[in-house]
């Protein structure tokens, strides 16, 4: 296990050390102290644990690395992730998993506004609650929420799917509840298994998808923008 104490190093020096580690390394970052932009743009399959609270964009544009934040995460955790896994043991701030293309983001407590905004294929599992505008303009991928959701859940969804274990304050424009299928149960089981939340029951979830009434302009319809 490699340990890197962040205290005497600049963000660039820390990221350089992470990039230079060989594939398969196990590494721990100590004393991140909420600084921004750690573990950005990693490409190798390393097992990284960040011991402490994070600033903005931890795991941003991640490829292949498995990153665990032993604390809370700042805005944009795992934004634009391409593959790999990011796990937040605490809470996550706004825009968690924004525009992610692949991989898995797990948040063990709650997250804030715009979780999964503009999602492009990642899977996101939030054990707790999400704030307003979760999955805004989410295009592809799955978001599983164990707790409740705020206002405007799934506003302007494309093809991403939301599985909600609790209640939502309101649905966003063009979002609707849909009935669950066997395939959905399989997807939920898989997501819960990968996240390690096997105590949650797939049958307790409801599905929210796009009603697809905004896919085309139509002046004859009452299109809810």
């Amino acid at each position: 296990m490699v340990q890197i104490d962040c205290s005497p190093l600049t963000t660039s020096e820390i990221n350089k050390k992470l990039r230079e580690l060989p594939e398969g390394s196990e590494v721990e970052l100590l004393n991140p102290a909420g600084r921004h932009n750690l573990a950005v743009g990693l490409e190798k399959k390393i097992d990284l644990t960040i011991n402490g609270h994070g600033g903005y964009y931890y795991g941003g544009m991640n490829k292949n690395a498995e990153i665990t934040i032993n604390g809370n995460a700042g805005p944009g955790v795992a934004e634009n992730m391409m593959s790999g896994r990011v796990r937040v043991k605490g809470h996550a701030s706004t825009s968690a998993g924004a525009s992610g293309h692949g991989g898995l983001l797990v948040i063990e407590k709650d997250t804030s506004l715009r979780c999964g905004i503009s999602l492009k294929g990642s899977d996101i599992v939030v054990r707790g609650c999400v704030g307003n505008m979760c999955a805004f303009m989410a295009q592809a991928g799955n978001i599983l929420i164990g707790g409740d959701a705020g206002q405007a859940l799934g506003d302007s969804l494309y093809e991403a799917v939301i599985y909600l274990g609790g209640k939502y304050k309101s649905l966003g424009a063009d979002a609707k509840e849909d009935s669950m299928t066997d395939e959905d149960i399989t997807i939920i089981k898989d997501m819960l298994s990968r996240a390690g939340f096997n105590d949650l029951k797939p049958e307790n979830f409801k599905k929210i998808i796009s009603a697809k009434t905004l896919y085309h302009f139509d002046s004859e319809k009452k299109q809810d923008y």
Partner: protein, 440 residues
């Protein structure tokens, strides 16, 4: 015999025939008009300025012989490898999706032959463009369509787009007829839907966040590439200052004449400010911060001729960027007999077409239809781009020499006079024959 009543057509400035026709069209359509190109109405522009070239009080350089440098280096403020351009004219961001791959390829070929850059767009980087463009600026837009770290690392610069001149505050549009399988794949969208991009970035909100976002992109690219920030010109003075504080190496300011392939007409005609105002405000902001020529300024929006380029540089821009005029150079709105029917099918004619949003571009540029796209030969179109850039450069140099300048970047405001009171006020350049402008 009853006398015929005379037909009286009393002028109504508030509801002229065009406005009546528009209202009735809106009543039929039930939504906003969406079209391509930029603002069509007459607004103050570079034509309202003239050069005070050499005479007795100023000495010219030989117009065809004496050296007049056009080399331009930008973006090195924070230690990145700067962008070295042979000419101070670049090609603006236009998406793959709004344009086809052939057009992106052609732009790259022409730009590379002239030693300048192209810019991706709201659809990501195509392999064709990366291959053809010697210098490629990669856009990071609110939509993040196709944005990925691998392509970011292949780019020569990254441009964070906050807005564009045709629609500051609005997001991109690409209608269903242009969401082909390839476009849909690159943008992670269902084929054939009417795509409307986000207008705000998903993971940052204001200028304080932008500081951190720029740092993130520097971490991704190891600090090797310059970071541009592009804004649509509105409150240009304040916005440029905020971009500087956020850490931009280069700021791109796009005036209201800037084009688009598909946006609401109400945005195109009624948002933003003219490029003439934008360049003056941007330069003032940089000067007030002591960052003029340290943070570099690219001006775009309705740049058409070498005279426009020269005037933009004289007003303080480091570089100009051109979008819609490049498409015109490649054949957009070209009057060819064999294309007449294609224009008529769109309800228009050569010289008047703005129907990029339909995907039925008579010139084969703003389309995803494979058959229509065959009209555009990237090699021939690339040559046209090169020739157009060459013409602009020669015009720029000849005007600079006539002002006594051996380097186009030595052009200055003092070389200019305003032909109208409006232009004098907007550009803060004296009205011809005076040393005064409104507000002085």
């Amino acid at each position: 015999m009853t006398q015929k009543k005379p037909i009286v057509k009393e002028q109504n400035h508030n509801y002229p025939p065009e406005m009546i026709a528009w209202i009735q069209h809106a009543a039929e359509l039930g939504r906003y008009d969406i079209r391509g190109m930029g603002a069509k109405r007459k607004i103050p522009d570079f034509n309202d300025l003239t050069f005070l070239t050499a005479s007795m009080s100023r000495y010219p350089l030989e117009g065809y012989r004496e050296k007049c440098v056009t080399q331009t280096v930008i973006g090195g403020r924070h230690g990145a490898k700067p962008i070295e351009l042979d000419i101070p004219i670049t090609i603006a961001g236009m998406s793959f999706g709004s344009l086809n791959a052939q057009a992106k390829d052609a732009l790259g070929r022409g730009a590379s032959q002239m030693g300048t850059s192209t810019t991706t767009g709201d659809g990501g980087m195509t392999p064709e463009e990366r291959k053809s463009s010697k210098i490629l600026v990669y856009q990071c837009l609110p939509s993040r369509y196709g944005f990925n770290p691998d392509d970011a690392r292949k780019a020569d610069a990254i441009e964070i787009v906050i807005g564009q001149g045709a629609k500051p505050g609005g997001g991109g549009i690409l209608l269903g007829q242009k969401i082909s399988p390839r476009v849909a794949g690159m943008r992670t969208l269902p084929e054939g839907i009417d795509q409307r991009s986000a207008c705000r970035h998903p993971d940052w909100t204001g200028p304080d966040d932008l500081v951190i976002k720029i740092e993130e992109l520097r971490e991704l690219t190891l600090g090797k590439v310059p970071i541009y920030v592009k804004i649509g010109a509105t409150r240009a003075y304040h916005d440029v200052k905020l971009c500087c504080h956020a850490g931009a190496d280069v700021i791109v300011v796009d005036g209201m004449q800037g084009g688009t392939a598909a946006t609401q007409d109400c945005y195109i005609e009624h948002t933003g400010i003219p490029t003439l105002a934008a360049v003056r405000m941007a330069v003032e902001a940089l000067q007030d911060l002591g960052l003029y020529r340290k943070v570099h300024l690219i001006i775009s929006g309705g740049i058409r001729t070498g005279a426009d380029v020269a005037k933009a540089l004289a007003m303080g821009a480091d570089v100009v960027s051109i979008g819609q005029a490049m498409l015109i150079a490649m054949g957009c709105n070209m009057d060819l007999p064999e294309w007449e029917e294609d224009y008529h099918k769109l309800g228009t004619a050569a010289g008047y077409c703005h129907h990029c949003q339909t995907g039925l571009c008579p010139a084969g540029i703003t389309t995803q239809d494979p058959e229509i796209s065959k009209k555009l030969d990237p090699d021939k179109a690339g040559r046209k781009v090169r020739n157009y850039l060459k013409t602009l450069t020669l015009e720029l140099q000849t005007l600079a020499r006539a002002c006594g300048k051996s380097n186009v970047h030595h052009l200055e405001k003092e070389d200019l006079a305003a032909l109208t009171m409006e232009a004098a006020a907007i550009a803060k350049i004296p009205l011809v024959g005076t040393d005064w402008y409104p507000g002085k």
